[in-house]
């Protein structure tokens, strides 16, 4: 029996190849994701190792909490108290310290002297740092460290990419403003040319302190130990001499901690990518199921023969399962190889969208190999269980009959099962979105998968009328169209399960499109309601920028209210939250803040906080209550609640005055500056005035309301494109499903096609006939997917309506485009089967000896 199985596999190499492709791509996605994230993690690990290679002990302020990885932040994400400069001398005096450097870091944006554009790699930070002569976090590749306040060293990647060399003059923007410097040296970080994509500008310590607002203070002290001195012991010894609030830790610990932080961030990325990989595999499972089902039907006579000559039904079952096992194993192995290429592709995709993931050599862990092989093989075998059981039910007498297996699962049972699975899926999705369970994402994901599965089970009931409807334009035009349409209708179960694969892909694409459209509509509406400012100034890529800009703008007579806006992390009621800093006098002139109680003006008192209705409600706070806020810089502070406002796009949940903000945070960069024209000043003159000031801040973009709205929409669109590209693989896999089904169907209809050719159908007409069938199947999948996607999108929007996504929008144009795209993809999927059908040897097809 085993030999027969293997013979049967080899006899149908092409079929094996097509079936396997679905798994190859899915497994490739899984393997690619693992390889990519493993590689990035390894690179970061090494990078942090390299950075701290010359350092043994690090002195830093105690941190009240880890702010985590703040999104798109332009500077160090950690917010720690500055160390008084005199501590450096104390540390240097500790026995066993060979050398120690005071280090400050901050925001430093380089400007390309040729193009005048800001230099930034995607969303990576633009770092400024002091030069550490003893501990060499950065290593000189050429030139010398900055010897004076008008010279800098820059990272090797920036130097190479922007044709900068020693002696070049570059402008650098810091929170202190913009100045021009001469490049004195080029630095690297171990083997890396920059810090994981971040650009690095190095100043001498005094200059760095002045530029980053750290006069007389340091962020870190880096220590090198004397030969033979143990790191841990030295750290303990240094710790003993430090003033309260500071600590000495080994550089190894710091590197490990930072590596863990990045590993965590990469873990999110890995999870997100794996979700898409599993979507692809899920779609692949449908194709495996479908293909094995058709194969079993076509092999009915052969299977009946085995049974007739004495094979047990268990042997038949085993033979089909072994066939799927071998297919799955081979496909997974190939998929693993494809994964390496895909890892490159994914990396390219991310860097195209501005997220550079550093890579060294590809990391192929044993875990990657095991997971890929296991997942691919398991999915293949599981998907073929039902077809295998059908095969096992073939009776010996069927060796003698012409027709395929009689469909044995009753219509009622299918309807009930399909209904139950769909209902369970929808129930889980609703529970996940509205019930607020702890693992909501997993429940929603499982519910969505279950919904798709149920819809696939139910779809044969609608496949015939839907195919008839979709194919209606072809019905009476030509015989090819008519036959193609009827071929799509003749086996609704096969048509349905083939299009189910595409249904999943397009369901998700539609869901994302609908959700994005709703998000965009809601954001537009919110911005319309919220913004009163004529102009909104933001950092390029939303990175924070120097607060000098707002000060400069305030001096212009053409401008009315200039309202800077800042944001940073603090800990309130046990959770890390974003706290906004606003100017109570101008914020009300530039934005609409709907107060439920209290007033924005209450912020004039710097120990007052205002907060959103959401958090007031969930914590039971009212105006007049006092709450405690934990800051990294200033520790625990008490604030009185001066007012409660409706959900606000900008303020988030908590806001304090700029005064209070400055007292409690170290980094004083603005995120947004709202500006209105002065009374009686024409809007374009006001804009000219802003432009004149902003010229010195190339990292700041000036928008009017419409432009700002467009920018927000563009951001959503960018994510949308990324998700579409990631879902593309699932769609491609489902096309292989159509190719596969059509090829197998043509194999079944070889006599019929031969007859058509004999009575005068031309090859062109045969091809057209297959194309029409493919288009109908593809559009059917698209229509079903769009329906499900619309429902998902609507449910998702409803569940998020209280966090601001309160509008439901349907991107009709996109949906029409999806259907057209599906039709075109159908034509593509038909190319190979249609060519095969057209090239059929007419004589062989009608022979019946």
């Amino acid at each position: 029996m085993l030999r027969a199985t293997i013979k049967s596999l080899l006899a149908r190499k092409l079929r094996l190849l097509l079936t396997a492709l679905a798994i190859v791509l899915g497994v490739g996605f899984v393997a690619g994701t693992l390889v990519l994230t493993d590689t990035a993690t390894a690179t970061f690990d090494r990078l942090f190792g390299d950075i701290y290679a010359g350092t043994d002990v690090v002195v830093q302020a105690h941190s009240a909490f880890e702010a985590g990885i703040a999104e798109g932040s332009g500077g160090p994400t950690e917010e720690r108290n500055p160390i008084p400069e005199q501590v450096l001398e104390q540390v240097r005096g500790v026995d066993g310290v060979r050398g120690a450097d005071g280090d400050v870091a901050g925001y430093a944006q380089l400007i390309d002297p040729t193009t005048d554009d800001t230099i930034q790699n995607g969303q990576a930070p633009t770092l400024g740092n002091s030069w550490d002569p003893n501990t060499t976090t950065a290593t000189l590749r050429a030139g010398k460290p900055p010897p004076s306040s008008d010279q800098v060293a820059i990272d090797a990647a920036t130097a190479a990419d922007h044709h900068l060399s020693i002696g070049s003059r570059v402008r650098v923007i810091t929170q202190a403003g913009t100045s021009t410097y001469t490049v004195s040296g080029i630095v690297g970080f171990g083997d890396s040319d920059n810090l994981a994509g971040a650009t690095v500008t190095i100043f001498d310590l005094a200059t760095a302190q002045r530029l980053f607002g750290r006069e007389g203070t340091l962020d870190h002290i880096y220590v090198v130990a004397d030969r033979g001195v143990n790191d841990t012991q030295l750290a303990r010894r240094i710790d003993a001499v430090l003033p309260k609030g500071f600590e000495a830790v080994t550089a190894t610990d710091v590197a490990t901690q930072q590596a863990q932080n990045t590993a965590q961030a990469l873990g999110f990325l890995r999870t997100a990518l794996l979700v898409f990989a599993f979507v692809s595999l899920f779609v692949g499972a449908f194709i495996i199921f479908n293909t094995f089902n058709i194969i079993v039907t076509q092999r009915t006579q052969e299977l009946g023969l085995y049974r007739a000559i004495g094979a047990t039904s268990r042997q038949v079952l085993t033979s089909v399962l072994i066939e799927s096992l071998v297919t799955g194993l081979v496909a997974s192995a190939v998929g693993l190889g494809v994964g390496l290429l895909l890892a490159k592709g994914l990396q390219g995709l991310f860097s195209l969208l501005g997220f550079d993931l550093p890579t060294t050599t590809m990391q192929i862990r044993p875990r990657t190999v095991v997971v890929s092989l296991l997942v691919g093989t398991a999915i293949t075998v599981v998907a073929s269980v039902a077809p295998a059981r059908r095969a096992a039910r073939v009776a010996p007498i069927q060796a003698l009959r012409e027709s395929g297996i009689v469909q044995s699962v009753s219509v009622v049972r299918r309807a009930v099962t399909g209904g139950l699975v769909t209902a369970t899926g929808i129930g889980l999705v609703l529970d996940g979105l509205f019930g607020g369970p702890s693992n909501a994402a997993a429940i929603v994901g499982f519910g969505a998968a279950s919904t798709f599965l149920g819809a696939a089970l139910l779809s044969p009931f609608v496949a015939r009328p839907l195919a008839a409807w979709i194919g209606a334009p072809f019905r009476s035009r030509t015989i090819s169209g008519k036959l193609g349409r009827q071929n799509a209708m003749r086996n609704p179960r096969r048509t349905a399960s083939t299009s189910a694969a595409l249904m999943i892909g397009l369901g998700l694409v539609t869901f994302i499109a609908v959700f994005a459209a709703s998000l965009k509509a809601s954001v537009s509406a919110i911005l319309d309601e919220t913004i009163r400012a004529d102009f909104i100034l933001t950092g390029t890529q939303f990175t924070p920028f120097s607060s000098r800009l707002a000060q400069d703008l305030a001096t212009r007579p053409e401008l009315g209210a200039v309202s800077p806006f800042r944001q940073n992390a603090a800990k309130i009621a046990g959770g890390v939250v974003f706290l906004s800093g606003v100017d109570p006098a101008t914020i009300v002139r530039t934005t609409n803040i709907q107060m439920v109680s209290g007033s924005v003006a209450s912020l004039d008192n710097p120990s007052t906080i205002i907060l959103s209705r959401n958090v007031a409600r969930s914590h039971g706070w009212q105006t007049g209550d006092t709450i405690s806020v934990l800051f990294n810089k200033s520790g625990r502070q008490t604030f009185t609640i001066g007012g409660v406002y409706e959900t606000n796009e900008f303020l988030n949940d908590y806001a304090v005055s700029l005064d209070a903000y400055d007292r409690n945070f170290t980094g004083l960069l603005d995120s947004i500056v709202f500006v209105t024209a002065a009374d009686g000043v024409r809007i374009d003159r006001a804009r000219d005035a802003i432009a004149a000031v902003a010229r010195n801040y190339p990292n700041v973009d000036v928008h009017n309301q419409a432009e700002f709205k467009q920018q927000s929409i563009d951001q959503v669109n960018q994510i949308l494109v990324l998700v579409f590209v990631l879902l593309l693989l699932a769609v491609i896999i489902s096309l292989f499903g159509i190719v596969n089904t059509l090829s197998l169907s043509i194999y079944e209809r070889v006599h019929e096609i031969g007859l058509l050719r004999a009575v005068g159908m031309s090859r062109v007409q045969v091809r057209r006939m297959i194309r029409v069938e493919a288009v109908i199947i593809a559009v059917l999948g698209a229509v079903l997917g769009i329906v499900i996607g619309l429902v998902f999108g609507w449910v998702m929007q409803r569940s998020l309506s209280d966090v601001g996504i309160d509008r439901f929008a349907v991107p009709y144009g996109q949906l029409v485009a999806f259907i057209l795209a599906a039709a075109i993809l159908g034509v593509g999927a038909a190319i190979f089967p249609a060519r095969r059908a057209a090239r059929l040897d007419v004589l062989a097809a009608i022979a019946y000896e």
Binding site: L483, Q486, R490, E752, L755, A758, V759, G760, S762, I846
Partner: protein, 247 residues
């Protein structure tokens, strides 16, 4: 005029040779066969298995390309035609009835009958369509699909399809091979009527003497050559002749 047409030739083969394989594995299926099929006549081709009768039919219908020699339908030399032209020729000038797989399962009987016209994008002549349908006696079965028809009915639908485009010649390859004797007789009667009443030309391959008895003329084939002919045959005469040929 009448007599002229009777002697007119609908299709002919000249020195038609068909070989398969080469060297030691070479099989000569047709060995320089020359034959003419008269217009408005019912010709049967008989011979034992492997005699080349199906190959002859396929070559003369433009389904298979001969190794050498020429084939004409009317004045058209089939061996000079491209694949595309052959397809058009089959569509317009040839009708087919096969042993099995004669009908497209997704089409109704009526749609199967008009299939060659639909392929050509032409409308059927209503009068002629009605006449053909009535001759095969399928008026009440027109909206049925093949799976709802008996074997005999299916073959009659195939016969009607072969005639509906008024082809130069109809080739029937063992059309009664899968039928019981009554259904077979019905089909053969229909083919006979098509020749007698509608002046159609029919060439039928068969190994059934009874079927051959319906023909005007029988061509006997053995080992790729025409070995004998018989005019106005009856089943008994055919049986006798076959016996003598086997000896």
């Amino acid at each position: 005029m009448q007599t002229e047409q009777r002697t007119d030739v609908a299709a002919r083969a000249v020195d038609l040779t068909k070989q398969y394989g080469s060297g030691d594995a070479r099989v000569v299926a047709l060995d320089a066969v020359s034959v003419e099929f008269e217009r408005a006549a019912f010709t049967a081709i008989m011979g034992p298995s492997g005699s080349g009768k199906s190959t002859l039919l396929h070559c003369m219908a433009g389904l298979d390309a001969p190794t050498s020699g020429t084939v004409f339908i009317g004045d058209i030399d089939l061996t000079s035609l491209s694949e595309k032209q052959l397809t058009l020729l089959r569509r317009e000038k040839v009708g087919f009835v096969f042993q099995t797989f004669n009908l497209v399962p997704t089409l109704t009987a009526a749609e199967n009958i008009t299939l060659p016209l639909d392929i050509a994008g032409e409308r059927p002549e209503t009068a002629w369509f009605d006449q053909v349908v009535d001759t095969v006696g399928l008026r009440d079965r027109l909206s049925h699909r093949p799976s709802e028809l008996s074997g005999g009915q299916q073959q009659r639908v195939a016969g009607a399809r072969a005639l509906v485009s008024r082809p130069e010649i109809v080739y029937a390859d063992e059309p009664t091979g899968n039928l019981d004797s009554r259904s077979g007789a019905e089909l053969l009667g229909f083919l006979r009527d098509a020749v007698d009443e509608h002046r159609q030309t029919i060439v039928m391959v068969t190994h059934d003497p009874t079927a051959a008895g319906y023909a005007d003329r029988i061509v006997f084939l053995a080992d790729g050559r025409i070995v004998n002919e018989m005019l106005e045959p009856t089943a008994q005469k055919v049986l006798d002749r076959m016996k003598s040929l086997e000896e």
